[in-house]
């Protein structure tokens, strides 16, 4: 079965420094790290202490609210440091890598397993965190049966990866992963594909294809769900990223926890932007050594894309979920009279007060300058232009700021996650921090409604 969806609103921002279709394998990094902050809404309970030896697949911490949700080590090593922040919050668990062999699970044939057995394997092996749920974009709740599972095989964010290329050697494991996910849900997994692509995803069996056409954020799962089968109050929908479908597939085909992560190192500060195969939590310097960075300027390192990623130090580590490491120049410079209309047209703009559309063919050079200061909500209508859902974004943001839970529910908070507001952050004339506001709104929802 296949369905077509056309997204009309949104915008693609064409940036310089897209990763070349070149796949390099990174040497295992000396140290790697797990960051509890990667799992929104999870409070970690440590199961190891500094100096402990962990093998690949051995649990490092579990969720406070559910000890069955395990977070395991992506490679073998010795716990080197547990880095804590304010109020002793755990920031990073840094592990010194070793050669110890990984943990083995004995897993039976998939077609002989029922849902409970499959769930048990996913939970005990530490593969559960690969599955996220809506509402809220938090880890899936093992107690519920979701309405549907979505896998988006493409991303439309600036400089984001081509999963077709990235997973070209993992077709079989992808199919096994889909088969596993199909066990967890009553309807076949929804596999959304870019309507203009023709790759191996078309040959995946037992899925419901959704062909999607349109600009960013068409690749965001929220947008796809909203236009395909919107989430209602009380419903639960799961989401898995393509490479994690492969990781789940590998777990079932090999019996070992798989933490494969192929990272596209991209951005205008990268000398040889390319795809590098490594594992979750790898040290960023192990990748930048291969890709080469222009160090004459001050750079920002972003785990993820420029719209919704998280900044990280150049000595930091790759996050759990992202396939993209973007490196762009910092923008701490002044621009004289830069606020005049049609000034500095090299800066990309969705507004017609700039001629930037003339300069975008080869991609824009961007930096992290705010290009203005934060102001009250004034301009209206600009958010709707980049928000392809039947939701009033400004009204939802205001409801979140006011902490009005009833209104947030009614205006669609269950259907969005912060990343859907990335373009709004970008396009906002008043420099409204929309993603932050939505994140706080969701935190309030989790606290008050659950």
């Amino acid at each position: 079965m296949s369905q077509g969806i056309r997204i009309n609103r949104g915008a693609n921002i064409n940036l310089k420094g897209e990763a070349n279709k070149l796949l390099t394998e990174a040497k295992p990094s000396n140290t790697f790290a797990l960051k509890p902050d990667n799992f929104f809404g999870i409070t970690p309970r440590l199961m190891v202490k500094e100096g402990d030896e962990v093998v690949k697949g051995a649990p490092v911490f579990h969720a406070k609210h559910d000890p069955k949700i395990l977070f395991v080590s992506p490679a073998s090593g010795v716990i080197k440091e547990i880095r804590r922040g304010a109020k002793r919050k755990i920031l990073e668990i840094v592990i010194q890598s070793s050669d110890a062999s990984p943990a083995k699970h004995s897993i039976g044939a998939l077609d002989k397993m029922d849902r409970a057995a499959t769930m048990e394997v996913l939970l005990s092996s530490g593969a559960w965190p690969f599955i996220k749920q809506r509402p809220y974009g938090i880890l899936a709740d093992p107690q519920v049966v979701p309405k549907a599972i979505y896998v988006s095989t493409f991303s439309t964010a600036p400089l984001d990866v081509d999963f077709q290329f990235l997973l070209k050697n993992n077709k079989d494991d992808f199919q096994i992963g889909i088969d596993v996910l199909n066990q967890l849900v009553d309807n076949p997994v929804n596999l959304s594909i870019d309507a203009s692509f023709s790759g191996f995803f078309h040959n995946i069996k037992d899925v419901n294809f959704i062909a999607i056409k349109g600009p960013h954020p068409a690749g965001n799962v929220s947008v796809q769900m909203h236009n395909h089968n919107p989430i209602n109050m009380g419903e639960n929908v799961w989401e898995v990223r393509p490479e994690d479908v492969v990781n789940i597939g590998k777990l079932f085909s090999s019996g070992e926890f798989s933490a494969q992560r192929t990272i596209a190192v991209a951005g205008s500060s990268v000398i040889y932007p390319q795809y590098i195969k490594t594992h979750i939590g790898a040290k960023i310097s192990s990748l930048t050594k291969i890709a080469g960075i222009n160090n004459d300027i001050q750079n920002r390192y972003i785990n993820g894309d420029v719209l919704s990623g998280v900044s990280v130090s150049d000595q930091g580590y790759i996050d759990f979920y992202n396939n993209l490491l973007t490196i762009i120049p910092e923008g701490n410079h002044y621009r004289m009279f830069g606020w005049l209309p049609f000034m500095d047209n090299k800066i990309p703009s969705l507004s017609n007060t700039s001629l930037s559309w003339l300069f975008g063919k080869k991609g824009y050079d961007v930096d992290t300058n705010m290009n203005g200061e934060e102001r009250a909500f004034v301009v209206t209508g600009e958010m709707e232009k980049v928000f392809p859902m039947d939701i009033y974004p400004m009204q939802l943001l205001k409801a979140c700021m006011a902490g009005d839970i009833e209104k947030m529910e009614a205006l669609g908070i269950y259907e969005v996650i912060p990343e859907d507001f990335g373009l709004i952050d970008y396009a906002s004339t008043s420099k409204i921090e929309a993603q932050e506001i939505i994140r706080e709104g969701i935190e309030l929802m989790i606290k008050e409604v659950g």
């Binding site: 419903e235 969705l350 507004s351 007060t353 203005g372 209508g381 009204q395 970008y426």
Partner: protein
């Protein structure tokens, strides 16, 4: 540029965090950010940002106002000289108008910005750019001979009561510029209406009088202007409202840059045209039979619709709401013109009225979205 930047950084040092003039930082920042877009980088949220900001948006509106303002200055002189019968050149007319209007603009900016700066320092937020537009709009919609102190009082009233009392830029319910005009209109009616205020010096020189077209019609008089004169704007009226042509240029700038809402403008034109046409069919008096096309180009309708109704803060905020809001402004404007001879021009009151109702319109539009979602929830529960 670097030299200037260094000088500014030196100048700003005493306003820094923990320094003795920290409280007054918003004031110096306003000047600094006028010269330079600051070096702030993104901290949370998206790492890259659009080149557009509120300053750029507001400056675009000011640029769009320029054609109407320049023509308004010329027309002030033109009306004066054509009544006195003196021979005059374009430059004479322009200089006469400048002497009248530039002091009003200066008074409006000095008074308004002073209040804005005081509130920015008092509240500890940056100076918002909104007043750059409001401060220019206020003199543009006043009669030319209004005393400067009345401009000052109206500005102070508008900024204090219409804006800061509600929390400043972005929070106000009424359009501040129209509030200033409405205040002057009701506080000093002899300076704001009648047949002696629309042409410069009319009140002090016997030979000069000038009634607006709508005023003449309301008083039952005959109009001797051609459609072209009304469209071009060589007629008596508030300073910059008379020329539909130059307002149209402004409208094109606003729509092309996406700064002004075309939905509101088009809605307003449709609303006014339809009601005007209906009255033409009725035709019970001079105002009713005044052609609907003429209704669109005389008085402040075009100016109000393009520059005041499209104020995003006081107008409707949803796209559907903008249509309804614009349409109703057009409808009420013509209704007030035709049915209420005490107010020959209806656009000011029509916009202020709809400013008050804009949140209600939005409420129902958003409520429509909410009930759609809730119906979907109920349907999902039934099938589950």
């Amino acid at each position: 540029m670097n030299f200037l930047r260094r000088k500014l950084d030196d100048l700003k040092r005493p306003f820094g965090k923990g320094q003795k003039w920290e409280r007054y930082a918003p004031a110096i920042n306003a000047f600094d950010t006028f010269l330079f877009v600051p070096n702030h980088t993104t901290k949370t949220g998206a790492h890259i940002r659009d080149a557009v900001d509120l300053k750029r948006t507001m400056v675009t509106v000011i640029i769009a106002l320029m054609p109407a303002l320049i023509y308004g200055i010329y027309n002030t002189g033109y009306q004066y000289y054509s009544q006195t019968g003196e021979a005059f050149t374009f430059l004479d007319a322009f200089i006469h108008g400048s002497w009248k209007i530039i002091p009003m603009i200066i008074v409006s900016y000095v008074v308004g910005l002073t209040i804005e700066f005081i509130f920015a320092v008092y509240r500890g937020h940056e100076v918002n750019e909104g007043y750059l537009v409001t401060g220019l709009l206020i003199p543009m919609i006043m009669p030319v001979d209004i005393p400067l102190w009345m401009v000052a009082v109206s500005v102070a009233f508008a900024v204090l009561i219409a804006k800061e009392a509600f929390g400043g830029t972005g929070m106000n319910i009424l359009n501040p510029a129209l509030t200033a005009r409405a205040f002057a209109f009701f506080a000093y009616p002899t300076y704001m209406s009648g047949n002696k205020v629309w042409v410069s010096e009319a009140s002090s020189m016997d030979g000069i009088s000038g009634e607006t077209i709508l005023g003449t019609l309301a008083a039952g008089g005959n109009v001797n202007y051609s459609f072209f004169e009304m469209f071009q704007g060589s007629i008596p009226g508030s300073i910059a409202e008379t020329s539909a042509f130059f307002v149209l240029i402004g409208a094109i700038i606003l729509i092309a840059t996406g700064v002004g809402s075309w939905r509101i403008m088009l809605g307003g034109v449709i609303g006014a045209a339809v009601v005007g046409l209906l009255f033409n069919f009725w035709g019970a008096n001079a105002l009713m039979s005044f052609s609907w096309v003429n209704h669109l180009v005389v008085g402040g309708f075009a100016f109000g619709l393009v520059f005041m109704a499209t104020d995003p803060v006081s107008g409707a905020q949803t796209n559907k709401g903008k249509w309804i809001y614009g349409l109703l402004i057009g409808v009420f404007c013509i209704l007030i013109r035709v049915f209420n001879p005490a107010y020959p021009e209806g656009v000011m009151l029509a916009i202020l009225l709809m400013n008050v109702f804009a949140p209600t319109i939005d409420h129902y539009v958003v409520q429509g979205n909410i009930s759609k979602r809730k119906k979907r929830w109920v349907a999902a529960l039934k099938t589950a």
